[in-house]
């Protein structure tokens, strides 16, 4: 009997513990004291009025209990509901009314009045104008999110410090609420924040009527917008710069994006550390007017013609050359490699430089091109880390440093070495190059029976070298401006960004269409010229491509 009693006692204690343990998760949740859920628990509990409007009275009790308002009873917000059926129809909830919760810091009944006052004073506040009907209320943006239980060291430290003075009741909740809004949550993602603003600011009926233009579209054309499309959570969206509730026109001194404030907004947030006031001298949405707009417009026009013209010419030239060369090789096939003499074209230092250039160039092009194709982040076979904004940025800068270092070395090589000085002298364009170009075009068009004899560096190589030198200067200068963007002004950073991207397209396309043709695609060269690895070109290539300066090729390959 005693044993039985002991068992019962032990079992009872265990059951009690289990019961208490089950209660713990709900300790912070409020019971449905008014029994509202006896009716509102049912799905499809609602009606459709004569206008076809869907009135849904169902409440997901479990979700609500776990929401930020889960500690409140229904009538804490729906205070005008006193009878069943609820007649007259309950009014919309007023978020500024004080509820039964006590503010753990002030000890007064809690309400959202302070935030509502900020909203009311902002550009989103009601001003008895026609646009009032489009302005958001609390519920226009806030969705009563699920409570995110943050367990961080910061939370623990804050809690322990606060509890030294404040009452524990509700304090943990308040701190978690602050922690939640401080960014440690996965509810207010950048996408969700953007969606809230974009919901109205991209509305076709409102853009042009209520808003000056589509600010979301102009945002998308900025670096921030591109980053947003990559899902980069570090980059800001609307509310990160314009504030959440105290939103004012940029011309209002209270606005966080007013010229006086924007330096602090961009620099103080930890994003553009060291940003000065001059950083603000530009449009955050790339919406320029006057001479600034003209500058950007003419750069685009100039590069449009430059890219189209240069790449177009290259394509035509190389297409003609391809068919002419193939025709020639059919008549006169290349001799076997074993029977051909080879001459030095690139020495070891030049080959290493070339390898460093093509590795860094490819790295730069790839890491840069990722910015251009936000849609590609949906492509599953491309590793996700490739889209990480910061990693991509530093990969790009790593290759930029290598590329710049090679360029500096090359300048030194061209000045301080005998071979470098000789090559530089031979690289200077001369009238004969223009003559060669026209003569060769005549040959390609079957107007001449033979191609012209060309110098040590022919016109194709000189064009490529000078274009590469020009591109390196532009890309290095504009890249440096973007790297040091916090020094501002932003307008010139935007100019640099535009130049950098357009020049990148020109450079990459030129390499593919021009250089790759000369050393890869050209009949007799495919799959590639081996000069980049061995340093030597064949006797045939010397005669065909540099026939005017055969004497310059003195160092013969000794197998």
């Amino acid at each position: 009997m005693k044993e039985l009693m002991n068992n019962i006692t032990v079992r009872s204690i265990l059951k009690s513990c289990l019961f208490l343990a089950l209660l713990i998760p709900f300790a912070g949740l409020h019971a449905d004291e008014e029994n509202c859920m006896s009716c509102h628990q049912y799905k499809l509990f609602g009606r459709m009025d004569d206008q076809g409007q869907f009135h849904n009275y169902f409440v997901d009790g479990e979700a609500f209990q776990n929401s930020v308002h889960g500690r409140l009873t229904c009538t804490a917000c729906h205070s005008d509901v006193t009878n069943i059926p609820h007649s007259p129809q309950p009014k919309a909830v007023d978020c500024t009314q004080a509820c039964h919760l006590e503010d753990p810091f002030s000890g007064t009944p809690f309400s959202h009045a302070t935030v509502a006052e900020k909203l009311s004073a902002s550009v989103h506040g009601m001003q008895n104008t026609a646009s009032d009907e489009f302005k958001p209320s609390c519920k226009g943006c806030h969705l009563n999110p699920q409570k995110i239980h943050v367990e961080s060291e910061v939370f623990a430290e804050i809690s322990s410090n606060c509890l030294k003075c404040h009452k524990p009741n509700g304090l943990d909740y308040a701190i978690q609420h602050m922690e939640f809004h401080a960014g440690n949550n996965d509810f207010w993602t950048q996408k969700r924040k953007m969606l809230i603003c974009a919901n109205c600011h991209t509305n076709d009926e409102l853009v042009g009527e209520v808003f000056k233009d589509d600010m979301v579209a102009s945002f998308m054309d900025t670096y921030h917008g591109v980053g947003f499309n990559f899902g980069d959570e570090r980059l800001p969206v609307c509310s990160d710069c314009h504030d959440y509730h105290s939103v004012f026109p940029a011309t209002d001194v209270r606005s966080t994006v007013h010229p006086i404030q924007v330096g602090q907004t961009c620099g103080g947030s930890g994003c553009h550390e060291g940003a000065r006031e001059t950083f603000a001298l530009g449009s955050m949405h790339n919406r320029y007017e006057g001479w600034q707009a003209d500058t950007l417009k003419w750069i685009k026009i100039a590069y449009f013609f430059l890219i189209s013209g240069v790449i177009g010419f290259m394509l035509i030239h190389n297409t003609l050359d391809f068919f002419r060369e193939r025709e020639k090789l059919k008549k006169h096939p290349l001799p076997p490699r074993e029977e051909v003499r080879f001459f030095l074209r690139l020495n070891k230092a030049e080959r290493i430089s070339h390898i460093l250039v093509f590795v860094s160039f490819t790295g730069l092009a790839l890491s840069g091109a990722l910015l251009w194709i936000p849609e590609i982040n949906n492509v599953s076979w491309i590793p996700r880390w490739m889209f990480d904004g910061e990693l991509r940025q530093w990969i790009h800068r790593f290759f930029a440093v290598i590329s710049t270092a090679v360029s500096i070395y090359h300048i030194g090589y061209a000045i301080f070495t005998k071979r470098g000085r000789r090559s530089l002298a031979l690289m200077i364009p001369k009238p004969v190059d223009a003559v060669n170009l026209f003569q060769n075009l005549g040959y390609l068009l079957h107007l001449r029976p033979e191609p012209p004899k060309m110098p040590y560096f022919n016109y194709a190589e000189k064009m490529e070298y000078l274009a590469f030198a020009w591109g390196s200067v532009v890309m290095t200068a504009t890249g440096l401006i973007m790297w040091l963007e916090h020094l501002g002004p932003k307008f010139w950073v935007d100019v640099a960004r535009l130049l950098h991207s357009l020049e990148a397209i020109l450079a990459v396309l030129a390499i593919i269409v021009w250089h790759f043709y000369l050393v890869h695609w050209r009949p007799g060269k495919f799959p590639m010229s081996r000069a980049w690895a061995t340093g030597y070109i064949s006797e045939h290539e010397v005669e065909e491509e540099h026939g005017l300066d055969v004497d310059e090729f003195t160092e013969e390959y000794d197998a």
């Binding site: 004291e33 799905k43 509990f45 849904n56 006193t82 969705l143 998308m220 194709i373």
Partner: protein, 254 residues
């Protein structure tokens, strides 16, 4: 070694070519579009990522004036009630909304709520005791057992007449053959069609007390698969009594 060295060259050659292609497409896009990003596409994508707060694509957008702003007002987390799949809809929804009761402020929401698991003609019948069964709308046959967590309208309680379920699926061929705009717009013809289809009297309908009062219930809760405790609950519900005893019921103040 030399082959590997050349292979390295091939890799960079291919990589740069691919990059060039990407840049070419980007350049063309830049030239043809003012912005590089399709904002509508972006918003669609963001919407798909926030599926948990979205309104219903299956029903609401199709039938109700419901937009994103309305879904954002969704403070009580009820988006899933809108997810009434097309294959679960009965033929009644060819003309009526799934929440057809709108007249009596006391009962309309409760009656509409029943539409989630009871076929219209189960209540809108002659009011006599009959054979009631659960009907699987998706498989279009009598369900073997009650499924408690089934999606809305997927399993419907239906009255059986001559061993045949009175509920039929939306767009069922035998119904579509006689349903036309002409019929829809003529109340007399519509009623006649419904009476033929339902094999019942449309002027009569069951009330709360016909099912939820123990000694008068036309339903055999046990036979429908409810456990004893739930049977007891369903036959002693307080809500019908509130409506019967009070014109207006005041919520106690705490």
């Amino acid at each position: 070694m030399r082959r590997r060295f050349f292979a390295l060259g091939y890799v960079f050659f291919v990589l740069l070519t691919v990059t060039g292609l990407i840049m070419t497409f980007s350049f063309i896009e830049r030239i043809t579009n003012s912005g590089i990003v399709d904002v509508d596409k972006m918003i669609d994508k963001a919407l798909s990522d926030t599926a948990s707060i979205q309104a219903d694509p299956a029903y609401v957008i199709e039938n109700v004036n419901h937009d994103l702003a309305a879904s954002l007002k969704n403070f009580h987390f009820y988006p899933e009630v809108s997810f009434i799949q097309k294959e679960h809809r009965s033929n009644c929804l060819s003309c009526h909304t799934p929440l057809p009761h709108n007249k009596d402020i006391k009962t309309r929401a409760f009656l509409n709520m029943h539409g989630g698991f009871i076929a219209c003609q189960t209540c809108h019948s002659d009011g006599k005791k009959g054979d009631y069964k659960w009907y699987d709308m998706e498989r279009n046959k009598v369900a073997e057992a009650l499924i408690s967590d089934a999606p809305l309208m997927s399993i419907q309680l239906t009255k059986m007449v001559s061993g045949k379920a009175t509920v039929t699926k939306q767009n069922a061929p035998e119904f579509l053959s006689v349903l036309s705009d002409n019929v829809k717009n003529d109340p007399g013809k519509a009623d006649a069609l419904c009476e033929t289809t339902y094999r019942g009297d449309l002027t009569k309908a069951l009330s709360c007390m016909n099912c939820h009062v123990s000694d008068k219930s036309v339903l055999d809760w046990k036979a429908l698969g409810y456990p004893p405790q739930r049977q007891e609950q369903l036959m002693t519900l307080s809500i019908p009594n509130v409506f019967n005893k009070y014109d207006e019921f005041y919520i106690p103040s705490f």
